[in-house]
């Protein structure tokens, strides 16, 4: 009995180790900690860039604030792509980034979104006051730049007080978008990039950009990067060849205005 027990334990370990050995194809992996609004556009860039750089791209998506905290706590990734500039700034001050790699790659826009089959006619933020808009999803303003922009827009439009009790906070922008998409909330204020990627499930109207501080999305290679050359190449790709994809997914590019 004792022996059988030991064999089971050994098998369990062998399975784990064996599986870990067969993973990977020898190509270096570039890890990107990326803001949730980048999920679909970065996934769209993945195949072409991977072939180009002969590396594997892996993404860890989350709110910019969560990712920045994880990086300060020791998360080792090659690239941090934030949804604003403050978190890149914060990591730069902590000496965790390669400052010369820091760059602006997009400006984000927010939209008011409702489920595709919704009967609500929401055109402006003021329409969110209507009593039939019972629940409104935004990303958590404390650590998600898109949530912060949503709060600023609601405040500047003078509707914050009216809707604050109806807010449902998503841990990050893609979770907030999911709440809308699945009809679990009546409306949401979410990134344009996610609304475009999920347009089958959502109807969206742009929020006037003067209502919130610009979401100046910055990116940097981290000092702990094991493949800084490949990481820098990805940044060059995002800000070069990848621009057409960025545009297509609803980002405003540095020096351009919204192309929709």
């Amino acid at each position: 009995m004792r022996r059988r027990f030991g064999i089971a334990a050994v098998l369990l370990c062998a399975l784990g180790l064996g599986l870990s050995a067969c993973g990977g194809d020898g190509r270096p992996t570039v890890l990107v900690a990326a803001a949730a609004d980048l999920r679909f556009v970065f996934e769209a860039m993945e195949p072409q860039f991977e072939e180009r750089c002969e590396c594997n791209l892996k993404f860890s998506f989350g709110s910019s604030g969560t990712l920045a905290t994880q990086i300060s706590n020791g998360l080792k990734v090659d690239i941090f792509a934030s949804a604003d500039s403050s978190y890149v700034e914060q990591l730069e001050k902590a000496g965790l980034t390669l400052p010369e790699t820091r760059q602006l790659y997009a400006v984000g826009r927010i939209v008011i979104a409702v489920p595709a089959d919704s009967e609500l006619e929401v055109e402006t933020l003021a329409d969110l006051r209507e009593t039939n808009v019972r629940r409104i999803a935004i990303a958590s303003p404390d650590h998600a730049p898109y949530g912060r922009a949503a709060r600023q827009a609601l405040e500047n439009a003078g509707v914050w007080e009216a809707v604050v009790d109806r807010l449902v906070l998503g841990e990050n922008a893609s979770l907030a978008t999911q709440f809308v998409e699945t009809g679990n909330v009546d409306a949401g204020i979410v990134p344009l990039s996610l609304a475009i990627s999920r347009e089958e499930y959502l109807r969206a109207v742009l929020v006037d950009e003067s209502l919130h501080e610009p979401l100046r999305q910055e990116v940097a290679v981290l000092k702990s990067s094991r493949h800084p050359d490949k990481a820098t190449a990805f940044l060059a790709y995002v800000n070069g060849e990848g621009r057409s994809l960025m545009r297509q997914y609803g980002f405003v590019l540095p020096g351009e205005s919204l192309q929709r």
């Binding site: 027990f5 992996t29 860890s60 994880q70 300060s72 020791g74 080792k76 499930y201």
Partner: protein
């Protein structure tokens, strides 16, 4: 290659994490269970409270303390990294450690009962017949308690493979490294990837049911 909605790497990471966590549970938990079953000592209640606490504590709290204790912000975490080159947080070792802490009460409590159910007179007889204490454990205690221990191992493994809260805090969500099956479900929900969410969730249900079957089967044979 056929595109499968479930990510094979998530399965691999989950097996690695739950495998190592179960091993930690066995190595740390079994002696602890035996100690609690067979010995009276000062502070025994305190030990029982400490080893049972993870059962009731929110896993995020466990993850938070691990992050504080072992992260880059802590002196101990920096010592591990700078002096020994060991990094725990945001690696699969961290995920395994988190899963082990959350799972260990299942192993200890179940094995403790198994040890307690062994007739201590049998152990006494074996000892008077000249067996050493370790000899008694090998010849009598362990074989008689083995089924109960196996039940505890099955429960601990199931709990470890299902761990989410502590893992996501201490190890994050890195595909191929720390993204276990439960974290993959959460990630798939955010991505609106219903196929991946469905299949991964189903697989987890299957694993849990299988572990519970092993658990019941082990206990059934104990009662006989």
């Amino acid at each position: 290659m056929i595109p499968l909605a479930i990510d094979a790497e998530d399965i691999r990471v989950s097996l690695q994490v739950a495998g190592l966590a179960t091993l930690i549970c066995i190595v740390v938990g079994l002696p602890m269970a035996w100690l609690l079953a067979r010995h009276q000592f000062r502070g025994r209640t305190l030990v029982e409270v400490v080893v049972t606490l993870p059962l009731l504590l929110p896993p995020t709290v466990v993850g938070y303390y691990l992050l504080r204790a072992l992260g880059a912000g802590s002196p101990f975490g920096r010592f591990l990294e700078d002096e020994l080159g060991i990094r725990i947080v945001f690696t699969w070792y961290g995920a395994a450690l988190a899963a082990a802490i959350v799972s260990i009460p299942f192993l200890i409590r179940t094995s403790q009962s198994a040890f307690e159910a062994v007739d201590s007179e049998l152990e006494g007889v074996a000892q008077t017949l000249g067996r050493s204490r370790i000899g008694v454990f090998r010849a009598i205690t362990f074989p008689l308690a083995a089924r109960g221990i196996a039940a505890g191992v099955a429960l601990a493994f199931a709990r470890a493979i299902g761990e989410f809260g502590a893992t996501v805090v201490v190890a994050g969500n890195i595909p191929g490294r720390t993204r276990t099956l439960p974290i993959s479900v959460y990630d798939a929900v955010q991505a609106g990837d219903i196929d991946r969410a469905n299949l991964t969730a189903l697989l987890l249900v299957g694993i849990s049911v299988a572990s519970l079957l092993v658990f019941s089967w082990s206990l059934l044979l104990v009662r006989r």
